[in-house]
Symmetry: C2
Subunit: 213 residues, 2 copies
């Protein structure tokens, strides 16, 4: 039993493979190939075979991948063969959009409770959640089995919220605020930054390729 360290860049691609495979399975595709997956995802077939090889053998040479099997294996590898409880902090417009977001449940996540610091919002019902006061984060999170925090507060409040979540034992934070969070090592933060996606597109809108002298 040897421990293999998987590079972060490989881990970052696994959810994309899972999403593509789930899509294929819904469409009724039984078998796929690294070439087909590569076309789907804008990667090279070799990259996909190398990424998957970290986790053992999946396809037989020449026969391709069993879609349902590979999807099930990736679901397990990413630990979403269970459902993760999340604490949402911020019951403003974004928080409201997130509690109504239709994409969490079937992919391994649900919002367990909603916090806000605004006295106007605390105690109010938001899509079936009673908004809890942010200063109870430290007591509420541990006994609810919550592992993930979602930050949907304004930029100027985000860092303080992050530290509250960390103090409550949270090890993974999804940050919607447009600010980089400083957290202790051992805590993972992923930032949802729409501008990164927009700038990927404006590269192509402007020129399409680089010209060099």
């Amino acid at each position: 039993m040897a421990e293999i360290q998987v590079p972060d860049m490989v881990v970052a691609r696994l959810p994309l493979y899972l999403r593509a495979l789930s899509h294929m399975e819904r469409e009724g595709t039984a078998v796929t190939s690294s070439h087909e997956l590569a076309t789907h995802l804008g990667l090279s077939p070799a990259q996909i075979r190398k990424d998957l090889s970290y986790f053992g053998r999946f396809g037989k040479q020449g026969t391709g991948y069993d879609v349902a099997n590979l999807r099930a294996r990736l679901t397990k590898i990413l630990n979403v063969d269970r459902t993760w409880a999340m604490a949402l902090v911020g019951a403003g417009a974004l928080g409201l959009a997130l509690v109504h977001y239709g994409g969490f449940q079937e992919r391994g996540f649900y919002i367990a409770c909603v916090f806000d610091s605004d006295p106007e919002k605390i105690g109010r019902d938001v899509a079936g959640y009673t908004v809890l006061p942010s200063d109870t984060i430290a007591e509420e999170i541990p006994h609810r089995g919550i592992s993930i925090g979602v930050i949907a507060v304004p930029a100027e409040a985000a860092q303080a919220v992050a530290l509250q979540l960390v103090e409550a034992g949270i090890k993974a934070i999804l940050n919607y605020a447009p600010i980089s969070l400083a957290v202790p090592s051992g805590v993972r933060v992923q930032q949802i930054d729409p501008v990164v996606y927009l700038q990927q597109m404006t590269f192509y809108l402007g020129s399409g390729s680089a010209s060099q002298a």
Copy 2:
């Protein structure tokens, strides 16, 4: 003057470099290295040097990169030395959150107008925008100089909205709906999918590394 085709995976990383450099510049860092950038971004220094080499020479061997200069060059390469007008479709909770999002303006983008198909919302004021009827997308977008569409409608409405945007001449779509959009070739779509980020974190929450027999 030779045209160099830049791989999509390289383009995908450029906004991350720009974000890191802008952060360094705000912090007062004048010079950086591929090693420092690499640590910041979880990439290898060699990868960063290779990515940047598509666009010419930036640093001198041993002296590192001038932060302000490299930031300015990347701003130009990504075509965000100008500001792009975006049409937001969907004036629900998410749309409301997006019009209040503080991260667009200083990084090259602004929301020029807001559409919705709900008669209750059309004509209403949303953060200074008068909500326009979605069935006027085709006439409004071309004469407002809008190049980018942002979809913030429910999943079941997203595909139809995407096609309306394409018919109006839009070539770049930022999609918040939890659904893959089918668009003609030549149109770029980026999907904001929070579950991809969450699953990257649950990989580590569950085990930390892969074990192999």
